[in-house]
C-alpha cells in the first residue's frame, strides 16, 4: 500500500506522518508537493498537520485552492482513502470532504497534552483493529480544535455512526470535564458517509503516539 503525504508551505507534521507510515507501518510513502496534480500512484492520501500557509485567513482556507487538493477530492470521490489530521482535517472541511468546521478552542489557548479518546465505531477501515468502546491515549496539539457543525449535521453524524472517536476521561466517560476544547458532543474524530475519509483527531495528532517506543499507531489503514 502506498501512502502520499501532502506538503504545503507551512506543513510541519509531514515528516512526523511519514515516520509513521513508512518508519513504523513499513509502507511505501511519497511526499506530495502541493502543486502536484497527479497522485494516481497513491493508495492513501494523508493531509498532515501544521500551519499550511501560516493559517492565514482561516485554518486550511488557502490550502483548499491548491492543485493537490483538487486531485485529493477526485481521489476521495473514487472511493479511495483520505486521512486528515489536525490542520489536515481543517483542510478537509474547507474543501467539503467532511462536514463541520474547527473553531478556536473553548479557553482560547493552544493546548498541547495527552487526551483519552473512546473508540465509538470500529467498523471503519480506520478503526477496525480497535475494540468498540476501547479507551486510547493520543497526543493533542491544537489552537483550533473545537469541532462545530449545525445540529442536524451533528445528528446525522451520530445516527449514521460517523463519529469515530470521542474525548473522554481515562474511565471512558465523555463529559464536559473530559472535553479539552469544547468540541460538540466531545467529537474527536469523524468519517464521511462513505467511510473513506476520516478526520482523525480533533487535532489529536494520533501519529505521535509514543512511536519512539515502536508502538503501533493506528490500525487498519
Amino acid at each position: 500500500m502506498k501512502f502520499g503525504v501532502v506538503v504545503f508551505p507551512g506543513s510541519n507534521c509531514d515528516r512526523d506522518m511519514a515516520w509513521v507510515t513508512q518508519g513504523l507501518l513499513g509502507q511505501t510513502t511519497r511526499m506530495v508537493w502541493h502543486e502536484e496534480s497527479d497522485i494516481s500512484d497513491i493508495d492513501v492520501m494523508v493531509v498532515p498537520g501544521g500551519f499550511s500557509y501560516g493559517d492565514y485567513l482561516r485554518c486550511g482556507a488557502i490550502a483548499r485552492f491548491s492543485p493537490v487538493m483538487k486531485a485529493t477530492i477526485d481521489h476521495a470521490n473514487r472511493g479511495k482513502p483520505v486521512l486528515g489530521v489536525c490542520n489536515g482535517f481543517q483542510v478537509l472541511t474547507e474543501v467539503g470532504l467532511l462536514p463541520g468546521a474547527l473553531m478556536r478552542n473553548r479557553d482560547l489557548h493552544f493546548i498541547c497534552d495527552r487526551a483519552s479518546l473512546k473508540v465509538e465505531n470500529n467498523s471503519s477501515i480506520w478503526t477496525r483493529e480497535y475494540q468498540s468502546g476501547q479507551v486510547i491515549t493520543v497526543p493533542i496539539a491544537h489552537g483550533e480544535g473545537c469541532y462545530y457543525a449545525e445540529p442536524d449535521v451533528i445528528q446525522q453524524l451520530e445516527d449514521q455512526g460517523q463519529v469515530l472517536f470521542r474525548y473522554c476521561n481515562p474511565q471512558g466517560d465523555a463529559n464536559q470535564g473530559s472535553n479539552p476544547n469544547g468540541s460538540l458532543n466531545n467529537i474527536a474524530g469523524i468519517r464521511n458517509q462513505q467511510g473513506n475519509v476520516p478526520r482523525h483527531d480533533a487535532p489529536p495528532r494520533a501519529r505521535r503516539r509514543r512511536s519512539h517506543w515502536g508502538h503501533r499507531w493506528f490500525g487498519g489503514v
Binding site: 506543513s11 500551519f51 519512539h212
Partner: protein, 777 residues
Amino acid sequence: MNVLESAPFSPEEIASQGIKPNEYEEIVTRLGRHPNKAELGMFGVMWSEHCCYKNSRPLLSQFPTTGPRVLVGPGENAGVVDMGDGIRLAFKIESHNHPSAVEPFQGAATGVGGILRDIFTMGARPIAVLNSLRFGNLDDARTKRLFQGVVAGISHYGNCVGVATVGGEVYFDPAYSGNPLVNAMAMGLMETDEIVKSGAKGIGNPVLYVGSTTGRDGMGGASFASAELSKESIDDRPAVQVGDPFLEKSLIEACLEAFKTGAVVAAQDMGAAGLTCSTAEMAAKGGVGILLDLDKIPARETGMVPYEYLLSESQERMLFVAEKGREQELIDIFHRWELQAVVAGEVLAEPIVRIMFQGAVAAEVPALALSDDTPIYKRDLMASPPPYATEAWAWTEDQLPACDVQGIAGQTWNQVMTTLLDTPTIASKRWVYSQYDHQVQNNTVIFPGGADAAVVRVRPQANATSATDFTLPATEIGVAATTDCNPRYVYLNPLEGAKMAVAEAARNLSCVGAEPIAVTDNLNFGSPEKPIGYWQLANACAGIAEACREFATPVTGGNVSLYNETLDAEGNPQPIYPTPVIGMVGRVENIRKVVGQAWAEAGDRIYLLGLPPGVVSPALTLGASEYLAQCHGTIAGQPPQVDFDLERRVQAVCRHGIQEGWIKSAHDSSEGGLALAIAESCIAAGRGATITLEAGEARLDHLLFAEGGARILVSVRDGAAWEAYARAELGDRARFIGTVGDLGAPLTIATGTQILVNLPVEQMAHTWGTAIERRLQ
C-alpha cells in the same frame, strides 16, 4: 579643532545612535573623515554591546571553549558538538529582553525566530527549543500582562514553525518587574555534510539576499537593546520587530535545501542590525569586502532611505555568498518556497563594506572597523565587595525565630510547605508549557514537567520534498538539555552563584542519565558602566569559567544582554538580579533508559545523594534560600558554595545508577530544598512517601529547606547491588531516607519519632498545580 565640534551632527543626533563622544572620535579616526548619516547608524548598531560585546569581551575570553566534542566554538552563529554515531548538534541561546518588555508578544516571538535562524544558518534542522524566562511578582497587573504576552508569543511562533518547545524555566521576582528576561535556546541536528560558516569567500562571488522583504520595522533594535528602559521606551515600539513563523518555516526548508546543493559558500542570518551586521560580519570573517546594492533589496515599503535599509531588523531574512554561476539554482529553490531571492551584491577583494543606493555610494566603511576592530572597555574591578553584599553576608541562621517540631512563628511545617508549594517560582509551570507544542516532530522522550531536563530523541531528518527515507535509525542516542540560573544566588554572590548555575545544569542533566557535554550562556546583567554592575558581571564570568572547566563542559557560544535596568518614577536605575543563564546539553546513551522525577512503585527505596540530612556547612544553607525569601521576606546570607568534587561524584553515581537500571526516579534538590524535592517527586507520581531525617546539629527548617549540598534524590528498586555501589563510591554521601508509598498515600517527613510534615499528595498537587493559574484569574 575638536572632532565633535566639526561634526555634521549635533551631539544629540550622535547620542541618539547610541554612540558616546569618545566613540565618535574613534569613528572619525578609522574613516579618516566624518561619517554620513547611514554610516553613523551602522556604527551605532555595530558598536552596541549587543553586537560587539565591548564591555564583556575581555571577560568572555576566560571561558574554556575547546574539547574533544567541540566542532564549532564561539564566533559562528551557533556552537556545534559531536554527539557520536555521526550525529552533530548545533545549539545556542539568545535573549530578547528589551523588545519583550515593550511588546511582549512580538518580542518573545521574534526571540524564538532569531535563535532558530542561528541554528539553521549552520545547516542544522531545529529540533527543540527551551525558554528561560524571568518576570516580576505575579500579583502585579503589568507583570501578568507581560507574562501572558510572552507565553502567547512563544507559543505562536514555536508552534507554527513546528519546533517542539520542550523545556526551560520560569522565575518570578520583583527584581524583574520592569525588565523581564526572555532567553530562548534552540538545538538542531546538522543535515549538511559541511558545517555552513559565515565568512565570505571568493572574490567576485555573488551575494544573495533571501527570505522576507525589508521594511521599517525593528529600526535600530540592537542599540535599543543596549540602553536602559524608561517610561518612554514604550515609544520605541517601532524598534520591536514583527515575526512571521510561516515564512520562517519555509525559510528553514529552503535554506537546508539550498545548502545541500553545495552552491552556498557562506551564510549569515539577519538578526540584530540586519543588513549592516550580516554584510560586515561576513566580510570581516572572510577577510574580504562586500558590495551591496540597496536598489536590489526587495522592500515592503516605498521611499526607504539607506539608513532605513541598513538598520531595519525585518525578520526572516538571510544573506548568502554563492558560488559564481550557480546563483540561479539557489534562487529557484527559494522561489519554489515562495520566498524572495535576489543577487544583491558581490564579494570584493578590498576589505570594505560598500553600500550602493540609486547608483551612488551611500556608505563605505572598513569591514573590520564595524565588526572586529571595535571598541573594548576594560574596567576596573571594585577593590572590595559592595556594601549590599557584605551586609547580606553578615546574616546567620540565628537571626531566624526559634522553631520546633510544631513549626515556626505560629506556622506548622505543613503550612510552610504549602506556602512554598504555592510560590509561582516553585509551582507547576503546566499553564505555560501546555500552550507550547512540546510534541511536534515526534521526538520528545520526556514531556515538560516530567524530569529535571528535557530529553529529545535524535534521528537524522529526511528532506521532505525529495527522496525520502523514514526508516527507523539504529541509534538510540538522545540529547538532554536544560537551562538554569538561580539569580538570587548570583545577586548575593556572583562568583558562587554562577558556579552553582553551571553545577545545577550538570546535575539536572545527570538526573535524567545524561552526560553533560557543553554550554551556551546568556549573560543578563545591569549596566557594566556602574561599579557594582561590573563587579557582578566580572565575578559571574569568573564563576562560569571555573565551573565549566571543573565539569569539562566548554562554552560554545552565547549572548550578552547588558543594561537590563528599569528607571523608576524618580529616574533611578533599578538593576535586575544578575542572571547568567546556563544552557547545557548532554548526551543520552540510550533513550529507553532515562528516568523522570516521579516515584515509580510503592516500596522503592529512597536515597539522598550529596550532603546528608543534619549537616550544616557553607555548602548547605538557608542563606539565599527560597524559604528565607518566601516565608521570612529576607534576601540575605551567602548562597551555598559549590563542592565540585562532591558534585561530580554524586552526578556520576546518579548517571551510572540510571544506566544500570537501579534508579527508577531522580530529582535534584534546588529551590525549597530537600522537603520540596521530595514533595515534587510525590506530586509527579501521585504517590506518598515515608521519610525519616536525622536532624543532627541542624535547625528543623534547615533540615527541611536548606539548599545546596550537591543533592540528588533517587528511588531505587534493586537494593543490594545499588547499596554496595553507592557505598563504595559515595560512602556516607548516600543515605537511605525512606520508602515510596502507595497511590494516594500521604507524604510524611519525620525526625526521630516526631512527625514534621504530613500532607495528602492530592492537596499538595492542587496547591502546586494551580498556583500560577489562580494568580492570573
